[in-house]
Subunit: 430 residues, 2 copies
């Protein structure tokens, strides 16, 4: 019977055949241990010369790294294996022999691995990160589906942009000019007026010349938007959503977190509610910590965010930023027009901002005034302004950056390992 490695637990004591690749092997004169992978998981195949005979044993011993094969054998429980099962091999059929696979168990430089990303994905660690990413996506859909959200796909090609036209990729759209979306938020606001609670999940693009461990040129965002939700309502959704995702990964990716060496005790604490600190209090805290490079009205940089996050064992909301630091559409605080009803969510352990969100301005006149102040083109924003003309309602939303979230939950240092084919400043291949 043909099975995948992940199905092994259902076939203990049975003879099965698995299509797989040889990840690694070791052998003596009498026994060979094959580390097999098939994408669904990893399992050890044990080939005993006395049992399989000279020919099959020879074939198994000669297998090269990443050769593809059909392996037949009996599934055994095995307490010593992290996976819990192994395969007593009875037959090996080589599909294709790999010669000189470039990624060996030794150390390789980053650029070399990135040039070979199409192969690097096969390694145990990259496989684990992709599985964690998959689980975060799965849990995201589950959370929003269960909570009455409709998935909405905002357009990628747009004539407009939420925060001005810097750092946008440009293309000709037949005779017009078009830009690749940096955020679907404005469209999600229109969708929320039609569908109530909506969420998007799609690629966004930023032509930014930064080269940090937190930046990708092409990255995926989840952008929920909720009609009739005010600032505090939105914070609740955010902390429940992030908690749900972390707890789902803990439950469904035990093997992967183990491969990644992730300290899961840190993740177990990630449960709503999350702490909140205002921009003003955060600034006071930073000054006390000796950061005298920053004053009221300045944005926080990575070192500031990290210093603040270190005081908490959960993600922390920094709220009520100065209006001047934030985009035009954010709702002012009714008690202090110098700040807006917004929050950034900063992940623990130095992983930085994973969410930015706010209540949106729903007053037609105030929004028109902001559009004018920011010198935005009123023709381009005509439809957006009309959302406030016909049955405007209070509403809020946020955007979560998928790759930074994967980095944090997986415990990987650089976002380039959190997306299958990263696009970086000088990286468009493979």
């Amino acid at each position: 019977m043909k099975i995948t490695i992940s199905e092994a637990s259902k076939h203990v004591g049975k003879e099965v055949t698995i299509g797989a690749w040889l990840a690694n092997k070791r052998s003596s004169g009498k026994i060979a241990f094959l580390q097999l992978r098939d994408g669904s998981g990893f399992i050890q195949g044990v080939v005993v010369k006395a049992e399989v005979g000279e020919d099959i044993f020879k074939k198994a011993k000669a297998l090269t790294q990443e050769s593809s094969l059909y392996v037949t054998g009996t599934v055994q429980e095995d307490e010593r294996s992290p996976f819990g099962y192994e395969l007593t091999v009875t037959d090996v059929e080589v599909i294709h022999e790999a010669v000189d696979y470039p990624i060996t168990p030794k150390e390789h430089g980053t650029e070399f691995l990135m040039d070979n990303r199409h192969l690097w994905l096969r390694s145990k660690r990259q496989h684990a990160v992709m599985k964690v990413r998959n689980e975060i996506i799965r849990a995201t859909y589950e959370f929003f589906n269960h909570n009455g959200f409709t998935k909405v796909d905002p357009p990628i090609l747009t004539g407009s942009a939420p925060e001005g036209t810097t750092e946008l990729f440009h293309t000709k759209y037949f005779d017009e000019d078009a830009f690749l979306s940096q955020s679907g938020q404005l469209y999600m606001e229109a969708a929320a007026m039609a569908l109530g609670k909506v969420f998007s999940f799609g690629p966004t693009f930023r032509a930014e010349k930064s080269k940090t461990r937190r930046h990708l040129i092409e990255f995926w965002m989840i952008e929920p938007e909720m009609a009739f939700y005010q600032f505090e309502d939105s914070l609740k959704v955010q902390e429940e959503y992030v908690s749900y995702v972390v707890q789902s990964v803990l439950e469904n990716c035990k093997l992967e977190l183990n491969v990644l060496g992730r300290d899961t005790s840190k993740l177990e604490q990630i449960k709503a509610p999350f702490p909140r600190i205002t921009y003003d209090d955060a600034l006071k805290f930073l000054h006390e910590k000796g950061f005298d490079d920053i004053q009221w009205g300045d944005d926080f940089g990575s070192p500031h965010e990290t210093a603040i996050a270190e005081s908490y064992d959960k993600p922390v909301f920094i709220t009520h930023y100065p209006t001047s630091l934030k985009p035009f559409y954010m709702q002012p605080d009714p008690t202090n027009a110098d700040v807006v009803l917004c929050a950034d969510l900063i992940a623990p352990e130095g992983y930085g901002e994973i969410i930015g969100g706010s209540e949106r301005i729903h007053d037609q006149e105030l929004l028109a005034q902001r559009v004018a102040e920011h010198e935005l083109d009123t023709e381009t924003y005509k439809w957006y302004l009309e959302l406030r003309k016909y049955g405007s309602v209070p509403h809020s939303g946020f955007g979560l950056g998928l790759e930074r979230t994967v980095a944090w939950i997986s415990g990987v240092e650089h976002v380039r390992e959190t997306i299958p084919f990263p696009r970086l400043l000088n990286r468009l291949y493979p």
Copy 2:
């Protein structure tokens, strides 16, 4: 208690408050019927003057279309309503009064509605299509998650393209040239070698100057790819997947299909297995039907596909197309090298091709030969060729076009109604 309309069934006999918009109303001197919508659903609010008093009744009667309001009332079961519930209104609080909402219950021209897409989405029919789209997406994730697939997001910005560089959107990627992806397939093949069974769901772009009811410039595709799966294995996944999606919509979108006037008896028949016909037999059939404009080696157009589909009450696979008609990576039929192991899946009722798929060439030499024959750049395809160098395995995959599938299942004529913000030949706004 604040609830959404979709939660009404859990609050029968209770007083609730709903944030909503007025979709429509009718009234006499003593009673007003408010058609309310909140995105989660539609419900009728009944305002009886004798019960609410003069002031509230006057407020309710004066409500304009698409004004936003908080409505308080008691949930009642109501057998006459398609939704099953109505609201006996006790109070109305206007949030924002809409003046001269442009989309009235009368007929409007398509261009006008498209210019007002941000508002048009609020109408009952568009709302229903978006809910069907959402259910197809939800069921897609559920199907592939349950069947051991990992979600993989291939890059949008690429230096290469699966089928040549015609009809591609171009952008500058810093100093390099980049193109917007028409298909993530090649990347999904790399991912399948790492993760076994994978699926993508993301936007794809075709700068095609066609203006038909089946074409969008920006559309969403689901592209599964499966290691160790041969042609027939892939057909099985396709028919099971499509059946699963259709049955999920039937089960979870009853109200929406009713709003759309969809003949659900036609959808109930959509269960695996699906019929299959070879290109050769399809050609014979077309000749018998009097299509003498087509001969062996020609591609089928919409009229041909529709004629073939009319013979079946399920989607039909057209298999084994001439090699010359198909992309370079398709596996030749071992019994006849003039045709390839591919299939297009044609939806019933004239909705056209919804899936294209094939077994992929896994032989390194044959693939290199095809790359040369098609005069493709070997540097660009270096990584793709390497998938056949290191442990190549038989594998297959397919791509389903989301919007055509939404059109078919919803029974809407034109794909422009199947995506929130359609991008068409002369349409980049809103």
